[in-house]
Symmetry: D2
Subunit: 353 residues, 4 copies
């Protein structure tokens, strides 16, 4: 086993303690320090994981050659300067979602990491839950066939946020998961976003995103802060099987249905003959067992592996950027009454352009 | 009790027998005959309800002064000529949904009925189920407060129809219900429709409709032929309470949640102070008992009442026309990639225009 | 294909029309007549299936050498004389459940059929549903391993019957299903029955049956007329897998859980070492697809097959007798405050004894 | 507000930290110390709640006149000597369930507390959950009417315990809840217990308890370690309404059904006329909102209130004794094959007898 990597957690607020606890427990990592301007807050987090040094000085952390990586859990608007500084100091970085508060800043961060040859990972924690890992695996191995549609619902009676609307609050989960499980990632050209603010709070509380995927498929996301019932459900329909993920049903989170519509393909068919070539499958349902595992432990493992193998993390900076791009396009779509808006591209050239 | 009205059922295919059975059982009606070009088919329906005259001649039916009304259960494309003929013969008419296969024809039918002073009713059967009647009542009496959003999901592994797409197949149910329960009916200016045909069947199999309602509210409909699981759920959020209708849960079809977000209204508030005036209600849930009653019996009763009281039926021709108008606008929206398309108006003047 | 067998349905009340319809539709049978003392009632049933002769004379039916079999759907207290008469006339017989209103009469009926070499089948319709057929198949092929426990719940707000208690009303379903699916049938030595009549109706409205099975396993049945919610659920635990049948969940009636407790078996272990040899399996869940098929059609098929192959029907007279034996023992148990009461045996010798 | 009472938590194993945390947070209590023979373990618990003295000496704790009460979270077999010692030292006591490992010891503990005039409380934590508190309130205020039946199911794939069977492991929850919510407490004369050990583990893994209640009502408990699915459900049927508590459905834990059977009561009726006086109610369902509150906080509050008001705690030592009495009677019932066994009484005289 290789030596442990040294990481410093920056930010001791809401999410920092979780990062600290998981890096502390990881066999890949040595939690070298907790850094927060509020040194007392840093101390409380350090005590919670059993005695780790604390510091209020980010510069000191970045100047320490023993530190391999930093994990940033500060407010979104501070991600850009801290990440750039850390990269310039030669540190690998994992950053809380969203990657940044604007796409433009995100692009700069991703490019800087590329230039420096460092790992920039977005902490899309949800992607490392046993359910999402299994979905990714099932799609990758072809169990669902080609993807036909994705329908995601994430609704509940939610806290109306002072600074972000329901799209920025909830949809990053759905978008990062789509980016993680779809074979080509979140590769969409346009997004249509319809939002409603029926309570006149000044921001959308109900929202719908529609994204055409390749080959005629479609992804749709429903986010809602006004629903009295809580639903966390994603349906992914494929040519072979369809998967339903009901995250609030711990006894059967994933169901894989061998049901669907089959279309006999022929070389020279017309729309009419197509109709007669349709058949229906009504096969078994299968619910794979999922291990009990904390998602953040997988985040820590993946961050270390990406660094050691010199490869992008599975939830890379680019991934965070794709999510940002869709969110910004969604905001643009809302200004044109929900007509589709173009999503900025992600390739090296596109990003630079 | 007034005398029974005489009705002839025209069309002995799929839906005709249900109409025949319910008119036969209704204390308001005398089922005078079954009319179908295929006289044997008419006879089978007549036998099923215990000996009713049959005829293959619509002209004969319309010429009979004893016949008060006709109930049309023929294919959609035949509704227009038959309805006009019947109205011209002075008969009240109830017609299977959709009212017609184009909005233009529907307008002509509605105007003809107005000119003749006759009842033209659309058989939106679903509106007469105990659940929908209760929803209408709850909204009308103010139990939900002002409507904030409506989200309707109607998905299942469906037969891919040879002639219509998933919007025309499934959405008329949702649209006619919205028209029935919303205080102002289906009063929408635009609709955005996103459809997908990932199996290349030549028509949309997955579809989403978004319709801004008055006062910033929004209605959304998800219809899908490719879902392995069947869902029939409508959530209607209001300022006071939110209602969830789960039609596949016979033990608790309707749930009324006294949960929601309250916004203290003040005369001179800014977006910032608004945030601080938000509070959350987490009250009881209530599920009203619903009687067991066949919806079509209610249709027969309403048709008779409208005729006797000289008033439009609750699911009038206009109602059918509003549904058609949204469906046509949805088709237009699809041609512009899901951007909102205007919905033709319904008022006397608008229709005539 | 062999020639059709001729059957006469005796009894045109509640269940008779269903039998008539299914025999009429079966390729194995010719529905020769409907017999009921109330000839008008017989005629209505005959009309419903499209013109079949009717008669009020059972003697006439039994005297007709062309009649191969009769299907009896008369009240339970009349089963005994009609069945004996029919067997003595050389007819095969299928009889509505319960086989008889006392075990003693049932024994005589079963013995008579044996002596005459005729098929006596009990119409345990539920056993021919796709779900129960699948359960039987899964157990027979060893998918569940050895049976450890069966827990069946059949509760709802039920009509309080004038003549029978909740055990006689509901438990025959559970008992006949157990007899059908368990490898050795309903082979129990004792039954303990606890009933309650808290409304003082004069008969038990809430009841529990406990039956030790072979090898330390146990079966338990909960029947209840006073439950506001309806539950139809049977759990069958095995050493390999456990099956849950939820009959009110049409989207997933059967679930087979590869979860359980494994006990490493060793030759010379003590209770203490056993504890340390326990491990837990948390495997996948699987829900087999079930065909849509009417159970009574399967009843008609099985009756014909048993006659043609000269073998007992899968729900034989003996099966009906085993159900009766448990019900009578349950009644005895109630008189001794729920202490276990012996169940009369079923073997040839036992029956004769 | 009165001064805080001083409590010492004895036992720093599984449950001790929870007690410590809740006493620490309670405005009624001062957590004076943590006591455990393993002083390091005590220290860890003390650290977890922010610096509380520790000690390995129970004698020292009991000798301290400032200590008002002790909270015991040690193994069941040690409850008897520790509780007696504490009572003899004049301390109020709360003790983890079960009260003791035999009824005889429990009787001595309850009597000693009475003699000393001290509070002896059993920590039946479940009784202080919002759901159970609400159930108690609904029954007390008459919302359910007279109780007709109670059916409790507590099953899951459970750890097979080395020292206790499934009855002693799981049923104390159901029994203590029954004691808490039923108007007369757990006042039963007999219990019938059927257990099965189909895996030959040396103790019952599947068990059923049946207890006749007053006035013909009945309580039944199903506990099971071998069920692949987890169920926590209690149905309490009453003459007016029936309550269903589904503890695994956080969105609707309690449902109160206004459905049931009504029996018109007449002075001189016979069983026959009774049948004709039955009617059915199919009213609304109501699900009360429940606050989010940790049960143990309520335990701490109740313990303080009982001490200050000089009254028995709502889950008193007697309550723990009633649970023990049923468990011992259940064990006796199992030795006589599930026939009902008498439950030892609880009144002052009965206990002394």
């Amino acid at each position: 086993m290789s030596e442990r990597l040294n990481v410093v957690v920056v930010g001791a607020g809401y999410w920092g303690p979780n990062l600290a606890r998981n890096f502390r427990a990881s066999p890949d990592w040595n939690l070298a320090a907790i850094c927060d301007l509020d040194i007392e807050r840093a101390q409380r987090v350090a005590d919670g994981v059993g005695g780790v040094p604390v510091t209020a000085s980010l510069d000191e952390v970045l100047a320490d050659p023993a530190v391999d990586a930093i994990a940033i859990a500060t407010p979104a608007r501070t991600h850009h300067p801290i990440v750039l500084k850390a990269l310039d100091a030669g540190k690998h970085v994992i950053v809380e979602k969203p990657l940044a508060d604007t796409r433009e800043k995100g692009v700069e961060m991703v490019e800087r990491a590329r230039e420096r040859g460092l790992v920039l990972m977005t902490d899309h924690t949800f992607c490392y839950t046993p359910a999402v890992l299994k979905i990714r695996e099932l799609i990758a191995e072809g169990s669902l066939g080609d993807i036909l549609f994705v329908d995601s619902v994430r609704i509940n009676l939610g806290l109306i946020q002072p600074d972000v609307d329901v799209f920025w609050d909830l949809a990053p989960h759905d978008l990062s998961i789509l980016d993680f499980v779809l074979p080509g990632g979140l590769d969409v050209d346009t997004v249509a976003a319809q939002g409603a603010d029926p309570l006149k709070t000044g921001k959308s509380c109900v929202g719908y995103l529609t994204m055409p995927l390749k080959n005629g498929a479609m992804a749709h996301v429903h986010v809602n802060w006004l629903s009295p019932t809580k639903i966390r459900q994603m349906v992914i329909g494929g040519t072979k099987r369809t998967l339903v993920w009901d995250d609030l049903n711990p006894q059967q989170r994933l169901s894989v249905y061998d049901r669907g519509v089959d279309l006999a393909s022929q070389s020279a068919e017309t729309a009419d003959t197509r109709a007669s070539n349709i058949s229906y499958r009504l096969g078994d349902t299968w619910s794979p067992a999922l291990p009990e595992r904390e998602a953040l432990a997988g985040v820590a493992t993946e961050f270390a592996a990406a660094i050691r193998e010199g490869r992008p993390a599975r939830t890379s900076g680019e991934s965070g950027l794709r999510v940002l791009s869709v969110l910004e396009a969604a905001a643009a779509s809302q200004t044109i009454h929900g007509a589709p808006a173009p999503v900025a591209g992600f390739s090296k050239e596109e990003i630079s352009a």
